[in-house]
């Protein structure tokens, strides 16, 4: 089974040289720490940064330089900053090659819910609706099940949607999966996790074809 770091490391394997990447709050943010040495990617933060770097050294924080999660960050050489309209022009206009974000639920047709629990929690969608409606390449990073042990990979979402038919890939603590033809297709098992365990934790339609390899995580 993967911990959050493991999920981030596995997602980092999906990165390709020359990509601009938007990382959501939480696990996705960790992906930046595991970019393979032999490729160059730039991170976009929807509040207006391209070429975002790591957290600043203690004492060097700048209140005017935060990421979309409101964390203090730095700029890499070659970075640029811009307003929110320009930032979402990049996103909506499909200039960002990959979006990684968390989810409460994902449906087998690619629907995603991650912004609202009616009557209970409404934090808002932030930039997530723009990101999922626009990106061609969307990876969801999340636990396979919720705190009650219920599957988050469902036949259809029960919570208000963030976007429809948009998620292409999911990396969880148990597995790597692809969404196509209205089903979750199992690509890899997390280290030490069996296909049976994944089946048991997946409420939506799961397709298991051939031998499912175990992930290789450094």
């Amino acid at each position: 089974m993967l911990d959050k770091t493991g999920i981030a490391k596995r997602i980092a394997q999906e990165l390709q040289d020359g990509w601009y990447v938007n990382l959501g709050i939480g696990i996705p943010t960790l992906v930046a720490n595991y970019v393979p040495d032999n490729i160059t990617v730039e991170f976009q933060s929807e509040n207006g940064i391209l070429g975002m770097g790591p957290f600043p050294y203690d004492g060097e924080e700048d209140a005017d330089l935060i990421n979309a999660g409101k964390q203090t960050v730095t700029l890499q050489p070659g970075a640029s900053v811009f307003d929110s309209a320009t930032s979402f022009a990049m996103i909506r206009g499909n200039h960002v090659q990959l979006t990684v974000l968390g989810a409460m639920e994902v449906a087998q047709n690619g629907d995603i819910a991650n912004w609202k629990i009616p009557g209970k929690m409404v934090k808002g969608m932030g930039g997530a609706m723009d990101l999922v409606a626009s990106a061609e390449n969307i990876i969801v990073a999340m636990m396979h099940t919720n705190k009650k042990g219920e599957s988050k990979l469902l036949p259809s979402c029960s919570l208000p949607l963030t976007g429809v038919k948009c998620v292409t890939r999911i990396i969880t603590n148990l597995a790597a999966l692809e969404i196509k033809d209205g089903a979750f297709h199992l690509l890899e098992r997390a280290p030490g996790v069996s296909v049976e365990e994944i089946k048991a934790a997946t409420a939506g339609k799961l397709v298991v074809e051939g031998d499912i390899p175990e992930m290789i995580i450094d």
Partner: protein, 234 residues
């Protein structure tokens, strides 16, 4: 000489803001928010406001200060977490909340300032956000029609500004400020440093003075950090 937009302070700058008005306020989280004008509006005790702002501050800072005093009737935002009083007022129905995808919010403000009354965007299609909105396919993909936003007053915060109203923002404190500056019937800019006309390079101005009606140099900026995240040296 350029047109002079200077007012003395936040009190002069906020003159004319009245109960029931619609305001735009720049900032992302607590980054790039007009601290001086917010404090002034707390003092003025202006009520029944509709506030268009990406976030709603935290309990004891930013727009949270207006929320504490129940001066806000309605929030139009994209993300309102990190604020318990907000959540309480919203869930109890005291506060109206219109949640908008962040990119649509930015573009709707820009559209309001740019004389574009409506535009199509894919964001929010198939979700609650699309309810009651026109849907149309472009390039085989469904989009929804979103309308422009404007405000009686737009209140923005810049790093530097000149007497002609030209503004320069710093780093990620730019965020929504430039679009909101465009969309206010009256736009107020508070700046950390007010300089004479001619001091800012015309080639590197983020918001041209035409969008700003009043400008003043703010005082006592706290610039609070919401999530102080650091790494250790070595």
């Amino acid at each position: 000489m350029a047109i002079n937009k200077v007012v003395a302070n936040a009190t002069e700058a906020t003159e004319g803001i009245k109960d029931g008005m619609t305001l735009m306020l720049g900032g992302f989280g607590l980054c790039g928010i007009p601290e001086n004008c917010i404090s002034e509006m707390v003092k003025m005790n202006v009520k029944g406001l509709t506030c268009i702002s990406n976030n709603a501050g935290v309990d004891d800072f930013g727009l949270g200060l207006l929320l504490q005093k129940k001066q806000i009737k309605k929030m139009i935002s994209s993300y309102v977490g990190e604020n318990d009083e907000f959540e309480r007022q919203m869930l109890s129905g005291e506060l109206e909340v219109d949640l908008i995808p962040q990119g649509s919010l930015a573009e709707r403000c820009r559209a309001g300032g740019a004389g574009i009354p409506a535009f199509f965007t894919p964001a929010g299609y198939g979700t609650e956000v699309a309810e009651g909105k026109e849907v149309r396919d472009f390039n085989g993909k469904p989009h929804i029609l979103e309308s422009a936003l404007t405000a009686d007053f737009a209140i923005v915060k810049a790093w530097k500004g000149d007497t002609a109203g030209n503004l320069v923002f710093k780093a990620a404190a730019r965020n929504f400020n430039p679009m909101m500056a465009m969309a206010g019937k009256i736009t107020i800019a508070e700046v950390e440093e007010l300089v004479p006309e001619g001091d800012l390079d015309p080639n590197f101005i983020h918001t041209p003075g035409i969008f700003v009606q009043r400008i003043f140099q703010g005082v006592d900026y706290e610039k609070r950090i919401e999530q102080r995240t650091v790494r250790q040296k070595g």
